[in-house]
């Protein structure tokens, strides 16, 4: 019996090797000293109950989630450590794509320890945690960005890289804006499931409420539902969400309206008018900014111009939001207001430059007077009475 134990144990260890490497660090015992469970007073036996000390091994992968749930789904138990903590993680997990596949026997999907770690678990809000907002996308990308892992499961490995090129990634990683969505924000964390086509807009609407409300009130909603298109994704993509540009509006090649609209018909006219208004507004804002910058560089102060430009920029944002009504008004009014504000800013910049010219003209006149005075003075000096020898 004993002679079979060792190779048997070795086989088990080898079989579970990938899981071990992915969830554990170099030395589990050392890592556990920093674990939140350790500070709660738990020891190795809390999870490795049925094993002898010194020969702990990882539980089989399908058993990990139920093992964690023995405590984390027990409300009375968890209340001792954190009265407000949620206890529905396991329930959510079972609804998730990971959970369902694991139940069906596929062990290559994520379970608790793959994301939270096994021995150095820290609270989610701890900045070192693999599921802290700034780290969560890296954690998901370990599997979902790895073609070697995704291909056998029939999934695409592009989303994490796509997300990393998006405005949301820039907001989160460059500006540190933790309100920007990570994988978990749209897909859920424990209940991680891709949102369905009809519900993805609900996800976007959590933050982009105005655009969602306008879209739902517009004719597009019913049309898109009828043809089975996900609302926001059609124009904005789901992972690689790039900064929207004015030239997306149009019927020419490369515009987002082009797949459905062509150059004929009323809609083309409306689209054309909106695009023209957007371009005009952008041009006005750029011209005003240049004029104000010129004046500032020359030493003039143009506070009111900057205020007007700020108003113009906000109207530009409003106009771009109102594109989601897919109608000429009230978009037109916002664009017109913006253009008027940009005009005011431009005028302020031009007035400052004109004032500069006035100053230079004043200087010119003064200098001429001074030069005339100097010439006359020179003549006078030359004609002063001289001394005899």
């Amino acid at each position: 019996m004993r002679s079979l134990w060792t190779p048997g144990a070795a086989l088990i260890v080898l079989a579970l090797w990938p899981a071990r490497v992915s969830a554990q660090g170099a030395d589990p015992a050392a890592a556990f000293t920093g674990d939140v469970h350790a500070s709660a007073g738990l020891t190795c036996t809390a999870c490795h109950a049925a094993q002898a000390p010194g020969s702990y091994t990882a539980p089989p992968r399908p058993a990990i989630a139920p093992l964690c749930a023995t405590c984390h789904s027990d409300a009375a138990y968890m209340q001792r450590f954190d009265p407000q903590v949620r206890v529905d993680q396991f329930l959510q997990y079972q609804t998730s794509a990971h959970g369902r596949r694991m139940t069906a026997g596929e062990t290559r999907v994520a379970t608790c320890t793959d994301c939270h770690g096994a021995h150095g678990v820290t609270r989610v809000r701890d900045a070192r945690s693999p599921v802290a907002p700034l780290n969560v996308t890296t954690t998901c990308a370990r599997c979902h960005g790895d073609p070697a892992r995704m291909e056998p499961l029939g999934r695409d490995a592009a989303p994490p890289a796509d997300w990393a090129a998006s405005v949301h990634a820039a907001a989160l990683l460059e500006r540190g804006d933790t309100s920007a969505p990570t994988c978990a924000a749209c897909h859920g964390s424990h209940g991680a499931t891709p949102p369905g086509i009809t519900s993805v807009a609900n996800v976007c609407a959590q933050c982009h409420l105005r655009e969602a409300e306008l879209f739902r009130a517009s004719p597009k909603k019913d049309i898109f539902d009828a043809i089975g298109q996900a609302e926001c994704l059609v124009c904005h993509n789901n992972h690689r969400i790039e900064p929207p540009a004015d030239h997306w509006v149009g019927v020419q090649e490369g515009a987002v309206c082009a797949p459905c609209h062509d150059a004929s018909g009323d809609s083309a006219r409306t689209i054309g008018a909106m695009r023209e208004a957007l371009d005009r507004l952008a041009g006005g804002v750029a011209a005003a900014d240049a004029s104000l910058a010129r004046a500032e560089r020359a030493g003039m102060l143009v506070d009111e111009g900057r205020l007007a430009l700020r108003a113009a920029r906000e109207q530009q944002v409003q106009a771009r939001v109102l594109v989601h009504t897919f109608a000429a008004e009230p978009f037109g009014a916002a664009a017109a207001d913006g253009a008027a504000a940009a005009r005011r800013a431009l005028d302020a910049g031009e007035a400052a430059s004109r004032e500069l010219q006035v100053r230079r003209t004043g200087l010119g006149v003064t200098t001429l007077l001074i030069v005339a005075f100097l010439i006359t003075l020179w003549v006078k000096i030359r004609r002063l009475p001289e001394l005899p020898s």
């Binding site: 309100s179 982009h208 700020r310 001074i370 005075f373 000096i381 030359r382 004609r383 009475p385």
Partner: protein, 201 residues
């Protein structure tokens, strides 16, 4: 510089010559009265070194007075060019003081309860609110998320940012959506029905 003596040597300068001759210090001795109609310097003591008759070449009154007249003309112009800006500077400008510590925010009466108004405070916007209970509050109107200008929502009784649905309560605290920080609060006072906002000291 003109007039390098025109080949003539001028006598030794003033006081050193006087001292050498043992003469009195300048200013202490009374000088004899100058003869009239002379444009030269006359004196009877050591300073007579400086005596020089009028150079007949330059005595033509016509020429001299033209030069003097022109000098007066241009000199007056230069003085005017200096005094005009000074005079304009001294007159108080339209807005008598810098509006960055405090600013007027319109009529108090026309601000109804449960409504708000956005005004300019320096180069940034500010929002004045009259709560449903009737008291006035004022905050910076720049959203702390991405700098959009906020507005008052009477239905929510909150300050709202249209860009990403951020919300602040009536104390300026960020209570919903992405804004990471509260809005800066301003002091509000009313004088003669005019609302005055000022930065908190």
């Amino acid at each position: 510089m003109p007039a390098r003596g025109h080949g003539r040597k001028w006598p030794i300068s003033g006081l050193s010559a006087c001292r050498r001759r043992g003469a009195a210090r300048l200013g202490v001795q009374k000088f004899p009265h100058r003869p009239k109609n002379s444009s030269t310097f006359l004196s009877t003591d050591c300073v007579s070194l400086l005596l020089h008759p009028v150079d007949p070449r330059n005595s033509a009154p016509g020429r001299r007075s033209v030069v003097n007249w022109l000098l007066g003309l241009w000199g007056g112009g230069v003085c005017g060019a200096v005094l005009y800006p000074v005079a304009r500077y001294l007159a108080p400008p339209e807005v008598p003081e810098a509006a960055t510590q405090s600013v007027m925010a319109g009529s108090a009466q026309s601000l109804a309860p449960n409504s708000g108004r956005v005004v300019a405070f320096g180069s940034r916007p500010a929002i004045v609110i009259r709560t449903a209970a009737g008291d006035l509050r004022a905050f910076s109107a720049t959203c702390t998320h991405l700098d959009c200008t906020v507005q008052y929502r009477p239905d929510l009784q909150r300050i709202w940012c249209a860009c990403h649905n951020g919300q602040y309560d009536l104390n300026g605290r960020n209570v919903a959506g992405p804004p990471p920080r509260p809005l800066e609060a301003f002091d509000v006072n009313v004088k003669d029905d005019q609302i005055a906002l000022s930065r908190k000291s």
